[in-house]
């Protein structure tokens, strides 16, 4: 790359690289701590305190680098230690006591506690020397390809210099050299499709917006990650905010905008803080302002906090919200690319789309198009959660099968696998027959689900499908903006019908109601939200009809979730009489002598599940209600 045409950038970059090299090759140990929201939830801040106390006690100094989420959230809190001259070693589930033990051994005796380590970041020869696996050879990480997450977990997100030392803003400088048309051509070649879920080709949106006439233009980053069960955008903004902001600069330059806005969920306070800090650093380093790097390009970025409305993920609703109105969608066209925020042409892309852009500009569109599968270029991040053994944030090439994701990366489930839910509340529930389906935009749509922004919720036999459909529809009902009747009334009818089935009052005719209402909504709702809201019902009806029938005709909930449709029983052969369940029962329903099998009085039991959670032997199970004769089930 010819960086010399921007001497100011070359100087900044050299300084940043020197700073990073000095940190890595310094004489002080480095301690990395995963301190994103997920790490903090698992206790990272207590671990941080323990690290600081231990250093003080031992009278040693070390650099503590608070990094973002590296991915395997189930191992958190993650603490890594890098002694001078040695690779970085990662330790999982580091409680304050464990941190003290590891640091004492490492700092006083140079003992790396290989038994406690999960992996190292060195080369393969170190594996032979130490007997520890490489971190990226762990089953959860090996099949992954990290493009947008490349810096998450490695750099301090509060340090622009760390980002610059890892080729940060090189993509933007490339963009300045190529000119707007060249940038759009590169994006076109890459085959990048919008990561918000719909999969519209990114370059097309850009071309429309670039061609649109307007004295001002805006770039909006949609970080209103409203899907319950999805946290990819949060992780990226917390772990590598500059990647997203650089993407916005590139987009702004390509379409001729002067102002960028990040619309971020107020529920993500750490992401908001990181963004504001990063923007301030950009301004100081000359990446924002009147004449960026002496190129004549003028751009500024502002953070706007959302106020909690799922529908604001829809672009026209998002704009209404930014304008101070109720976040209600309006019919398109005109599309925001022609007439958007305050009436000006506005480009709205998802956070992840922006995060990918610097990589495309830096490595070329050709490089990106070779990742993934034909027509579905590149990688995609997913939040792999629910009943999978290895939960966390992952990034895989598009086209990988669900089986690889759930079983190889996710490690499968403890109880038998039942389904995987994709695409959030507007997506669908796919059964075991779909495990070999490649995960891409077209295949997801063909199966009745959607790609969505990337939530993958793994379900096992303890999840009730009817309850899950009811859950999603309740969500859509309460989040429906109410503007159009099909969505406002349709979601209501779907919820009431599903509740009726869950209460044990379902009739076969209710299934027809579900189909009819869902069909009407798909055809007539105003926005994508209302049109896809019935997906959870339709896919569960399609792939899990048996379970609906068991609820309606068998009057039984096999997953022991719908409280009207099962009762608890203690299996005498599994119960050891430990008394744990007796202690937690708030209604006095569990009885029994110590060391004798216990029993549950079903009249007193309120099915709060406290005993099931307390039991270590899986001795408490849901069974059909004895007093009720099941009707014959026809499958």
């Amino acid at each position: 790359m010819n960086e010399n045409s921007f001497p100011q950038f070359t100087a900044i970059q050299r300084r940043a690289r020197e700073k990073w090299t000095a940190l890595q090759n310094g004489s002080q140990p480095l301690i990395y701590l995963g301190a994103a929201s997920c790490g903090r939830a698992a206790g990272a801040l207590q671990t941080l305190q323990a690290i600081q106390e231990t250093l003080q006690e031992l009278n040693r100094s070390a650099h503590i680098v608070q990094v973002g989420c590296i991915g395997p959230c189930y191992l958190e809190p993650l603490m890594d230690v890098q002694l001078p001259g040695l690779p970085r070693i990662s330790y999982a589930k580091v409680t304050p006591e464990k941190a003290k033990r590891i640091l004492r051994a490492a700092l006083l005796e140079g003992d790396l506690s290989p038994k406690l380590a999960v992996g190292h970041f060195g080369d393969r020869t170190f594996t032979e020397q130490s007997g520890m696996p490489r971190f990226f050879d762990l089953p959860m990480l090996k099949p992954q390809v990290r493009v947008v997450l490349r810096n998450c977990g490695f750099i301090d997100p509060q340090e622009i210099d760390h980002y610059l030392a890892h080729d940060g803003y090189v993509g933007f400088v490339q963009a300045l050299q190529r000119g707007p048309a060249g940038v759009i051509e590169e994006v076109k070649q890459s085959g990048l499709r919008g990561r918000g879920g719909a999969g519209f080709p990114t370059y097309k949106k850009w071309e429309i917006c670039r061609a649109a006439a307007g004295e001002k233009k805006f770039v909006i980053c949609n970080a209103d990650e409203g899907d319950p069960g999805a946290f990819m955008n949060r992780s990226l903004l917390e772990g590598d905010p500059h990647a997203v902001l650089e993407g916005m600069l590139i987009a702004g330059f390509a379409i001729g905008a002067q102002q960028g806005l990040v619309y971020v969920r107020a529920e993500y306070p750490l992401a908001v803080t990181r963004l504001r800090h990063a923007i301030q650093q950009m301004r100081q380093s000359g990446f924002l302002g009147e004449d960026i790097l002496g190129s004549g390009f003028r751009f500024n970025i502002e953070v706007k906090e959302g106020a909690g409305a799922f529908v604001c993920g829809e672009e026209t609703a998002l704009i209404a919200s930014l304008e101070g109105e109720r976040g209600m969608p309006r019919p398109r066209p005109p599309f925001p690319a022609e007439k958007g925020y305050r009436g000006y042409p506005t480009l709205i892309n998802n956070t992840e789309t922006f995060g990918i852009l610097p990589n495309i500009l830096r490595n070329g569109g050709q490089w990106f198009s070779q990742l993934g599968s034909p027509g579905n270029a590149g990688t995609k991040t997913f939040s792999l959660v629910g009943k999978a053994r290895h939960t966390g944030l992952i990034e895989v090439p598009l086209g990988m099968t669900l089986r690889q994701i759930v079983f190889d990366i996710g490690g499968g489930t403890i109880k038998p696998f039942k389904a995987v839910q994709t695409g959030g509340p507007l997506g669908g529930c796919l059964s075991a027959t779909h495990l070999d389906t490649p995960l891409d935009y077209e295949n997801m749509r063909a199966s009745g689900s959607i790609m969505g922004s990337g939530g993958l919720i793994v379900l096992d036999e303890s999840t009730c499908i009817v309850d899950l459909a009811r859950y999603f529809l309740t969500f859509s009902e309460s989040e429906s903006c109410g503007k159009c009747t099909p969505c406002r009334v349709g979601t209501r009818i779907l919820v009431e019908t599903l509740e009726k089935i869950a209460r044990g009052e379902g009739e076969m005719g209710d299934l027809d109601v579900l189909y009819k209402v869902a069909d009407t909504m798909q055809r007539t709702a105003l926005c994508g939200g209302g049109q896809t809201a019935p997906n959870p019902v339709l896919t569960t009806l399609k792939y899990f009809m048996n379970e609906y029938l068991t609820h309606i005709q068998g009057r039984y909930c096999p997953a022991a979730v719908c409280t009207a449709l099962f009762e608890y029983r203690i299996l005498a052969e599994k119960c050891t009489g430990c008394g744990r369940c007796v202690q937690v029962c708030s209604s006095g329903a569990v009885q029994g002598e110590k060391k004798e099998p216990h029993t549950i009085d079903v009249e007193l039991c309120i099915k709060c599940r406290a005993c099931v959670e307390a039991c270590k032997f899986d001795a408490i199970v849901g069974v059909p209600i004895a007093a009720r004769q099941p009707q014959e089930v026809t499958l």
Binding site: E225, G226, E267, G308, G327, G455, F472, C481
Partner: protein, 170 residues
């Protein structure tokens, strides 16, 4: 009675009706909730009706119209939390503290909210207490924690105070 600090903020920030949401966020941050008086004041300065302001504010789940408690409890009802028992946590809070989402205990100790997703799905089920997120929560641990916070026993049950069915979001 008007709040001079709010007036000053509106003038300094040069607020117009397009800034209504950041303005409401500012009020909630400084006063804890959106009071009738603050709505009246915004209406006066921005020259928009009180109805319009309530229309916008009540559309978004972030805004509350009741005075908050000393401690803040949020139970996450996102999908991952739902399948890992978030609903049971919410039901137990409703039952033991006689609280529905958006309410505060009569002694002003704890305010309670059911939220759609806190974004810590891999650690489900999670709750947020006073800004800190707690992972892999069980009903038993949550109740202990809350009684500790409040330092008293559960309130005795009163007649007819069942909450509406748990919505996925407040």
């Amino acid at each position: 009675m008007t709040n001079p600090a709010l007036t000053q903020f509106i003038q300094e920030e040069n607020c117009d009706p397009g800034n209504l949401i950041p303005l409401l966020q500012h009020i909630q941050q400084t006063e804890g909730y959106i009071s009738e008086q603050s709505v009246r004041q915004i209406s006066h300065f921005l020259k928009i009706s009180e109805n319009h302001i309530y229309g916008v504010a009540s559309f978004y789940s972030q805004f509350r119209f009741q005075k908050p408690g000393k401690h803040h409890l949020k139970v996450c009802l996102g999908t991952a939390c739902h399948v890992q028992g978030g609903k049971q946590l919410a039901q137990e809070v409703q039952k033991q503290f006689h609280l529905c989402s958006g309410e505060t205990t009569p002694d002003g100790a704890i305010d309670y909210e059911e939220v759609a997703c806190l974004g810590c799905c891999a650690q489900a089920a999670v709750v947020e207490i006073d800004g800190a997120i707690y992972a892999k929560m069980t009903t038993d641990r949550l109740m202990k924690k809350l009684h500790e916070l409040r330092n008293i026993q559960p309130v005795p049950a009163q007649a007819d105070e069942s909450c509406p069915p748990i919505p996925a979001s407040p």
